[in-house]
């Protein structure tokens, strides 16, 4: 994988390079997923080989992979074809394989976790990269059925090399900055979710098959079921654009349960993001939805508070060294090993999340290590709001006129017990639900600097 930035153009291009196309030979029982360049424990590798072995639940795994591939090509608010598909991302965490994709509209994140119970084989290497998905592969995946195990190779192994003959694949796809930022930020947003509801298999079938297509709803726990309501209630999970859960439907025949995750219901009643996880035999398939179908994850600003501290970058570097493609990152352990406080580890994980270097698994309620094969760090450095805030500070536009009151350019920022507020129109529209605005960030920076100085002086 190479990122090409064209000077003067906003969007970079990602170039996938596969030694052969991914393929599935049903008669031979061989599924070969080709890898593009990606990060492993050994550093960057052109075509890493992560796993070779049996998929013990081939029909379910094939269905799940199709779901991930479908999300990658979807644009949910506008079904017209874009002709652009960004390949899914695979991570080998040792005890599991994770397949991730992010919709073209930037509002839906999908992940299939194939757990140890459904794998029988050898982990060759740990790491993350893209996998090739093509039309013949999709057709072949749709034909998988029955119970016969399937040999899976992620990256080339000998078995696959002798059975499947695919030509070299080179693809270039535009890589918009906001798409990469959304893909990374969705992890940080999900880390604020809690389990809100749990349905059994039959109830999951009933609930998901009965959903309306459009609209923003709140799923309110009612006994063992969930019921949809137009307005939030305590314990509810937001369900914006239920049609975006469509890729769960083909998996229902395997489902043993459904879990819904979300943040606490906000008092202003505005829609929020949520995650929907289908329990499958030896697998989990999770979809994370943005607060509105027309709104992507990027720009949610959930991360900006943690990013605006000065030591975040250094802490992230320190914690980053300790990751080692762990499937579950234990924050306490990281704190111990790095010698940082829990809060600073949390901020460091946020920083790593936005850089695409850790994901968040709602089922485990833990981060996991994966290196998104896009240069999210570069994108992060250009986070427009943070950049604007830094510029405001540099221009000397922040002036504290009283305790907790700052004039930032033409706007007024107040720090109250309920958090900061600003007089700018953007703030009035979103009432803080999309994170701090550039004025608040700028004022925070100035205030933090002042606090640091005081600390030193003491």
């Amino acid at each position: 994988m190479t990122i090409i930035t064209v000077p003067g153009m906003a969007d970079a291009v990602v170039a996938y390079s596969y030694a052969r196309s991914s393929g599935l030979d049903l008669a031979a029982g061989q599924l070969g997923l080709s890898t593009s360049g990606g990060m492993t424990r050994q550093g960057l590798v052109a075509h890493p080989h992560f796993f070779s072995g049996l998929l013990t639940r081939p029909a379910c795994a094939a269905s799940g992979l199709l779901g991930v591939a479908d999300v990658a090509r979807a644009r949910y608010y506008d079904a017209r074809p874009t002709g652009i598909v960004r390949d899914p991302v695979v991570t080998c965490n040792g005890d599991r394989l994770r397949f991730e994709s992010f919709s073209a509209c930037g509002g839906v994140y999908a992940r299939l976790d194939v757990l140890q119970e459904a794998l029988d084989g050898d982990v060759v290497e740990l790491g993350t990269t893209n996998v090739d998905v093509n039309n013949p592969l999709r057709q072949a995946l749709a034909r998988v059925g029955g119970g016969d195990p399937l040999h899976l190779a992620v990256g080339a192994d000998e078995l696959v090399a002798t059975t499947l003959d695919g030509a070299v694949v080179e693809k270039k796809v535009p890589l918009p900055e906001r798409w990469v930022r959304g893909f990374a930020e969705v992890q940080v947003i999900a880390s604020g979710f809690d389990l809100r509801a749990e349905l059994t298999g039959p109830e999951a079938v009933r609930f998901l098959r009965g959903l309306p297509k459009r609209g923003v709803f709140w799923a309110v726990p009612a006994g063992r079921m969930l019921r949809l309501s137009a307005r939030p209630a305590a314990g509810a999970v937001c369900l914006p654009g239920p049609d975006r859960l469509a890729t769960l439907l083909p998996l229902l025949r395997f489902a043993t349960g459904l879990k819904a995750y979300g943040p606490a219901v906000p008092s202003n009643g505005l829609p929020v993001a949520s995650a929907w996880e289908l329990e499958l035999p030896g697998m989990r398939y999770v979809l994370t939805l943005s607060p509105e179908p027309k709104r992507g994850f990027s720009g949610e600003g959930a991360v900006l508070d943690d990013l605006s501290t000065d030591h975040a970058a250094a802490d992230a570097d320190l914690v980053g060294v300790l990751l080692a493609f762990e499937p579950r990152l234990d924050a306490d352990l990281l704190a111990e090993e790095s010698g940082l406080s829990r809060d600073r580890v949390r901020a460091a994980l946020t920083q790593l999340g936005t850089a695409g270097r850790v994901g968040y698994d709602v089922a485990e309620a833990a981060h996991f290590h994966r290196e998104l094969p896009y240069d999210a760090g570069r994108v992060l450095a250009m986070n427009p709001r943070l950049k604007a805030a830094v510029e405001l500070v540099a221009r000397g536009a922040v002036r504290f006129t009283g305790p907790g009151v700052a004039e930032v350019g033409e706007r007024r920022v107040r720090f109250t017990a309920d958090g900061p507020t600003c007089s700018c129109p953007w703030w009035a529209d979103y009432r803080g639900t999309r994170g701090p605005c550039k004025h608040v960030l700028a004022a925070q920076r100035v205030r933090n600097e002042a606090l640091d100085v005081t600390e030193v002086a003491v």
């Binding site: 307005r231 209630a233 509810a236 025949r253 202003n268 129109p425």
Partner: protein, 876 residues
């Protein structure tokens, strides 16, 4: 004249024929001179503003001709033709012919290069209204590709454009047969993005002959390879997609009259679980043919019927049952597994049939020996646990003992109420006010209006000059003709009878009071046009209009009285008194005062009444008297039924709640409490709950007509009902009728809102069960509410903590819903009884429902009888 001047002249005034002649007559030198100056000339023209840009777009055809004829490199010409301003052109076919003839003398390699570039630059996703033209530039790309022999099939957008073009031919075989691109396009129509939409359009609008028909015909006559089409379709089915994307290929498959041996049985079986319903229908037919011909293995049969049994569509489950009925003994095991899946169906007919089939299959000696104790056998026994007693016993008799499933241990939950969103803090700054005014949302959000009105009045009082400055940018956009010319252009009902423009008039009154006065005077002239007549709507408008008048007069008030302090619309009495004190003896605006009174809570601390006693204004004395009287009296609301002529009456002559003398009721309030013959126009219903938050029945009475009128539209106003119940004051017959209408609404989202309302009432122990009972009885007998819809709403509310309320309601309603002895039960009664059982179990209800014992005693396995028996047992 030099060549460049001539070309410019032709671009600007000439016609295309003359332009073509001119360009053809140019020599190399002339062409080069044009090429050098053309791009700069275009940039210059585009730089002259929007009008100039439109002008350029109108002249695009001639710009394109000049560029194609004169620019040097193929890349340069491709970019020129793809420029956004030049891309769209009227008559793309003529355009293509003209350009093709202008570049015919270019070297072959150059032409090939251009063809490839034009094809590659085509983009899908054209605007809907022009999609049948294909993507812009398609005709030229196609023409050049044909002339040069470049293969355009790699571009999805090109292929989709070709299909759109062919779809326009109304299935003409002759045109299609001779189309030079036919052979390269056909294999790609199964893969390219955007093709399905064109085919679907063709299927919908060319009902007599479609492109699909034409393709099948060409296959039949051998012009196309039939096998290619078959394989293409099969591949497309595997790729999947939305139902409307698959449907054209299903049609093509049918049109090809496929032989049994040609059906890819394995693929079709594997697609049954997840494909669109239209394809599954086809697949079942084809697989049945294959099976009849002996071409389907027992394993695939088992996989197929199991997949069908799990489909959400009843018709596919039925197909599975029909297929299983024909199963030979060797297939018993797979068939039983599928039947076990059907046991979980809610539809009794399907379930009963599955049980009968299972027993029949297993009773065949040959089958029994094959299947006993195998997976299917066990699956049937396991699934039978959840069946009703009678069916379960039948299964047990055949399959061995079945333990009844432990009745779901009911999960009792406290009602989960959808609280109203908290109020936002008052608008604190001029810039925030300006922003709110700019971002007024549609439809009205009363909370937003209230915040804006309060801030307008206060800020005008504090510093009118600064307020005017802050609002000026928006004002100038909104009222530009007013600024420049005269008021006449605004003399229209719209500025008198709608909330948004009335708010704009407030701003006008702040900034240009004299123009505002002129406009008001002009609007006050008697008119013949429509004026709203409902008191609720008029009251909302009157409140805004009195602020216009205040601002026009140049006077100000320090504060508005009625701005709510709670999300229900309620106004804290202490805050009201404090606001009155800020008026310092000045009289408040009358509608504002009436609105403030209406928003007082039902219980008021006497201390506050005492404090109000010190107010000096007439309104202040009135307020004090009302507070001493314990607030406004309750209106009497009677639900007169939905049948004409009257929709609900609220009498204003109710006795006060306390035996004290109270002042005369303000005229505004008396009107609001009299719902007359005249139906209220339903535009502003979202305002109504906060008009009278302490008088829910009155709000519900106003809502009756809009509710009745919109029972089948998407906005049924039920969200307003869900809001109003959060208020205070009695709820009775009218509110019950309003919620019942909501529970009977066609749209699931509206029914969910009605369930919300019911849950809210249940959480406050305020459900008027008897009123619900009679409302349901009446609305159902009038055929306004269907039982299955009612049942689905009650089913949502039951586990959400409203089980006791649901039971209380059904206990009241059922006697009028149960059939007379011997009569046919109403449709949906079984479903409703099932909810009654659930609610009764959760509540632990006992007792007797008149008519239930008779129904329970009926013979048969209908769902109604079955659920009646369960309910009867539960209540015994």
């Amino acid at each position: 004249m030099n060549p460049w001047r001539e070309v410019v002249h032709r671009i600007e005034v000439g016609d295309s024929v003359a332009m073509a002649r001119l360009l053809a007559s140019l020599n190399d030198l002339g062409r080069r001179a044009v090429a050098v100056q053309l791009p700069g000339y275009l940039s210059e023209r585009l730089g002259q503003g929007w009008d100039a840009r439109w002008e350029v777009e109108r002249q695009a055809a001639r710009f394109r001709m000049a560029g194609a004829a004169c620019l040097g490199g193929a890349a340069q010409v491709a970019s020129w033709l793809n420029r956004r301003e030049l891309r769209d052109v009227d008559g793309p076919r003529t355009d293509a012919e003209r350009i093709l003839s202008l570049i015919r003398n270019r070297p072959e390699e150059w032409r090939k290069d251009l063809a490839a570039r034009l094809v590659e630059r085509l983009r899908p996703g054209v605007a809907r209204w022009q999609r049948d033209q294909g993507p812009p530039g398609w005709d030229l790309a196609a023409g050049l590709a044909v002339e040069t022999g470049v293969d355009p099939s790699g571009s999805d957008a090109f292929v989709a454009g070709w299909v759109w073009r062919m779809a326009g031919m109304r299935g003409s075989t002759a045109v299609l047969r001779d189309d030079p691109l036919l052979d390269s396009m056909v294999p790609r129509i199964f893969e390219a993005d955007g093709v399905a939409e064109a085919l679907a359009w063709d299927q919908m609008w060319n009902s007599e002959r479609t492109l699909v028909d034409a393709l099948a015909e060409l296959a039949a006559e051998g012009r196309l390879k039939r096998d290619d089409l078959l394989r293409g379709c099969a591949g497309r089915f595997l790729v999947g997609g939305e139902p409307e994307e698959i449907a054209p290929f299903v049609a093509l498959w049918r049109a090809l009259h496929v032989e049994v041996t040609e059906v890819p049985a394995l693929d079709f079986v594997r697609l049954l679980p997840s494909s669109s319903s239209a394809f599954v229908q086809l697949a079942v037919e084809e697989l049945r043919r294959v099976d009849d011909a002996g071409g389907l293995s027992d394993e695939l049969f088992a996989e197929a019927v199991q997949a069908l049994a799990f489909r959400p569509e009843k018709k596919h489950v039925t197909s599975a049952l029909q297929w299983i009925a024909k199963a030979v003994p060797a297939r018993t095991d797979g068939a039983l597994t599928a039947l076990a899946l059907v046991f979980a169906q809610d539809t009794p007919a399907l379930r009963d049939r599955a049980v009968r089939l299972a027993v029949k299959l297993a009773s065949r000696p040959a089958a029994k020996s094959q299947a006993v104790d195998r997976a299917g056998w066990e699956a049937v026994r396991e699934a039978a646990a959840g069946l009703p007693d009678e069916l379960r016993e039948r299964v047990a008799a055949m399959f061995g003992e079945v333990e009844a499933a432990v009745e779901d241990v009911p999960v009792l939950s406290a009602p989960v109420v959808n609280a109203l969103a908290e109020l936002l803090p008052p608008i604190a700054s001029l810039e925030e006010l300006a922003h709110e005014v700019e971002s007024l949302r549609w439809p009205d959000e009363p909370e937003q209006f209230e915040r804006i009105l309060a801030a307008l009045v206060e800020m005008a009082h504090r510093d009118r000059g600064s307020l005017a400055e802050a609002l000026r940018p928006w004002f100038e956009r909104m009222w530009q003709p007013m600024v420049e010319t005269e008021v006449e252009s605004y003399v229209h009902d719209y500025y008198e009878y709608y909330t948004h423009p009335l708010l704009a008039r407030c701003v006008l009154a702040v900034i240009m009071p004299s123009s505002s006065r002129k406009l008001t005077a002009a609007l006050d002239q008697p008119k013949v046009s429509y004026a709203p007549s409902g008191a609720t709507e008029l009251f909302v408008l009157r409140r805004i209009r009195e602020i216009v008048t205040l601002l026009e007069s140049g006077a100000t008030l320090p504060v508005l009285l009625a701005t709510p302090t709670a999300p229900t619309g309620h106004l804290d009495p202490e805050t009201l008194v404090a606001r009155m004190e800020r008026l310092e003896g000045a009289e408040p605006l009358p509608a504002d005062f009436a609105q403030a009174l209406l928003r007082l809570p039902r219980r008021i601390d006497p201390v506050i009444a005492e404090r109000a006693g010190k107010l000096r204004s007439e309104a202040g004395r009135n307020l004090a008297a009302w507070l001493r009287a314990g607030g406004l009296p309750d209106p009497v609301a009677t639900d007169r039924g939905i049948t004409p002529p009257r929709i609900g009456t609220v009498g204003g002559d109710a006795a006060p709640r306390q035996e004290t003398t109270a002042p005369e009721l303000p005229e505004d309030i008396r009107r609001l409490w009299t719902v007359g013959h005249m139906p209220a126009y339903a535009r502003d219903t979202m305002w109504w709950p906060s008009l009278m938050p302490s008088h829910r029945e009155a709000v519900a009475a106003w809502l009756m007509h809009p509710l009745r009128e919109s029972m089948s539209s998407r906005n049924g106003h039920i969200e307003v009902v869900a809001r109003l119940v959060h208020g205070d004051g009695p709820v009775g017959a009218v509110t019950a009728a309003a919620i019942t209408i909501g529970m009977g609404h066609r749209a699931p989202a509206q029914r969910a809102a009605a369930a919300d309302a019911l849950i809210t009432l249940a959480s406050r122990d305020e459900v008027p069960a008897a009123d619900f009972g009679s409302a349901i009885g009446r609305l159902v007998s009038e055929d306004l509410v269907k039982l299955n819809r009612l049942a689905s709403a009650l089913e949502e509310a039951t586990p959400a903590g409203a089980h006791a309320a649901v039971w209380a309601i059904l206990a009241e309603a059922l006697p009028s819903l149960l059939p007379a002895p011997g009569a046919v039960p109403r449709a949906g009664l079984g479903q409703l009884l099932a909810i009654a059982v659930k609610a009764a179990v959760l509540t632990g209800a006992r007792g007797d429902i008149p008519g239930l014992a008779d129904l329970a005693a009926r013979k048969g396995t209908s769902r109604v009888a079955e659920e009646a028996r369960r309910l009867h047992r539960q209540l015994a």
